[in-house]
């Protein structure tokens, strides 16, 4: 009996990898090792529907297809080390898991509060179902919420918290919310709409310290300004979960470097045999834009990377040629969306690579579409409402 394909990471990218293996005809054993105690579930509702309601995890589980019904799930056990010579993964409980091939899908975790909380409670992050449940219990009318970070999570939490009747302040490092993704012009409009709903934006780089007797009462920004806060949400970005790969020889300088076939690359630039990486943790070149390997944290990419890795690995394990699949460029079109109040933002491409944006349809105060350019080449499209128009751009992102 040969060792299983081990997938480390029990979320969307891990699931899609398992499905891809089966689709390629690989019928051997598959084992998924997951840090969280849950089967794969959908994260976008965590900052929206699940955060405002009372919904349970049953509502957001991904369906488990028949093809992967026989997968072995080892849940609630983070992987702690990898030995690529011995071909085994060790988990938190010390159990070792030999593998025939490995798929790394360990994703991200939120960056923590940049200062020591000194045991003061009331500090939240939002990545997992448990995070959402812990936070939503506290989002009560009149509660003073201070959100660090004005990216997607920060803005979505702000909208949900305001609707729950909280008093919301957002501390932003950039001038406008979601500025990196939307640019200044559209970012400013998003800010205006948040302000109309009662959200207050504060420009500030970071936090200097917390004041509170057990529970947070006030937050000192590094500008010296002090704000009252009943709870703090830290939404200042995320970190790839790669500590368990230290010493393995894999290039983990920023996530796991992979080639166009999602095969892991070692620190000396050679391919690591039988090891793949997918989802938010993977860093790869997307030839639609340039030759710079990047981690891209958009929802459609765990599916795109997982499917492809599973198909290539499955064919390879079956002894079939993978040359043809590898020759096909991996050029998935990133897409992101966000719902805040009645504002529906949708984008395709890599808007944050742009050096300028241009309003091409609608009106900024209502529904609108912006094109994003880098060196006069279209790299993204984003808008509020007008989704059929934004959709129509999908075919405009072509390989050089």
């Amino acid at each position: 009996m040969s060792a299983p394909v081990v997938i480390v990471g029990g979320s969307l990218a891990g699931l899609r990898s398992a499905e891809g293996l089966r689709r390629a005809g690989y019928a051997g054993p598959i084992k998924v090792i997951g840090n969280e105690p849950y089967l794969p579930y959908n994260r976008p509702p965590l900052s929206k529907e699940l955060l405002s309601g009372t919904g349970d995890i049953d509502e957001i589980y991904f369906p488990i297809k028949e093809s992967v019904a026989d997968v072995e799930w080892v849940l609630g056990k983070a992987a702690t080390s990898l030995d690529i010579q011995e071909q085994k993964v060790t988990d938190l409980s010390g159990t070792s898991h030999p593998y025939r091939a490995l798929v790394i899908a360990t994703g991200l975790r939120p960056k923590p509060l940049p200062v020591d909380a000194n045991g003061i409670s009331g500090i939240h992050v939002l990545r997992t179902f448990d995070d959402a449940v812990a936070l939503r219990k506290q989002l009560l009318p009149g509660v003073k919420v201070l959100i660090l970070g004005a990216g997607f999570i920060g803005c979505e939490v702000a909208a949900t918290a305001v609707k729950a009747g909280c008093q919301v302040k957002v501390v932003a490092r950039t001038h406008e919310p979601m500025q990196e993704a939307l640019g200044k012009t559209l970012g400013r409009e998003v800010k205006r709409r948040h302000e109309l709903m009662g959200v207050e934006f504060v420009k500030g780089a970071s936090v200097f310290g917390l004041i509170g007797d057990g529970h947070v009462e006030r937050v000192i920004l590094d500008s010296g300004v002090i704000y009252d806060a009943d709870l703090v949400v830290v939404a200042i970005g995320s970190l790839p979960n790669t500590e368990w790969l230290e010493g393995s020889g894999i290039d983990i300088s920023n996530g796991v470097l992979v080639d166009g076939g999602l095969r892991a690359v070692s620190s000396n630039g050679t391919l690591v045999e039988n090891v793949f990486a997918v989802g938010d943790v993977a860093r790869y070149v997307n030839p639609l834009f340039d030759q710079v390997p990047r981690r891209v944290e958009h929802w459609n990419l765990p599916t795109e990377t997982g499917k492809r890795a599973g198909l290539i690995l499955g064919k390879y394990l079956n002894g079939e040629s993978i040359a043809e699949m590898l020759a096909e460029p991996f050029a998935p079109l990133p897409s992101f969306w966000s719902d805040q109040y009645d504002m529906h933002i949708l984008a395709f491409g890599m808007t944050y690579l742009a050096d300028r944006s241009e309003l091409v349809a609608g009106e900024i105060s209502g529904e609108c579409v912006f094109e994003y350019f880098r060196n006069d080449k279209l790299v993204g499209v984003c808008g509020i409402g007008m989704r059929p128009t934004i959709q129509s751009y999908r075919t405009k992102f072509l390989l050089p």
Partner: protein, 63 residues
């Protein structure tokens, strides 16, 4: 033939399915999703891709 079902209470009209199966799904002028409920077996791969990529997981293939 395969039967396509979309839970319109879940659907948020993101239109991600449109790209995967453009002959089955489309967004109308009001930004709302419209779809063909019964499609040929030749569309199965495309509809399965749409099921996978739906952010709200609102699409199902009924046997």
């Amino acid at each position: 033939m395969i039967k396509v079902e979309v839970d319109m209470n879940k659907c948020q009209h993101y239109g991600q399915c449109v790209f995967e199966a453009p002959t089955v799904f489309k967004l109308n002028a009001e930004d709302k999703l419209e779809y063909v409920a019964e499609v040929d077996d030749s569309e199965r791969d495309n509809v399965e891709a749409a099921v996978d990529i739906c952010p709200m997981q609102a699409i199902r293939i009924a046997q």
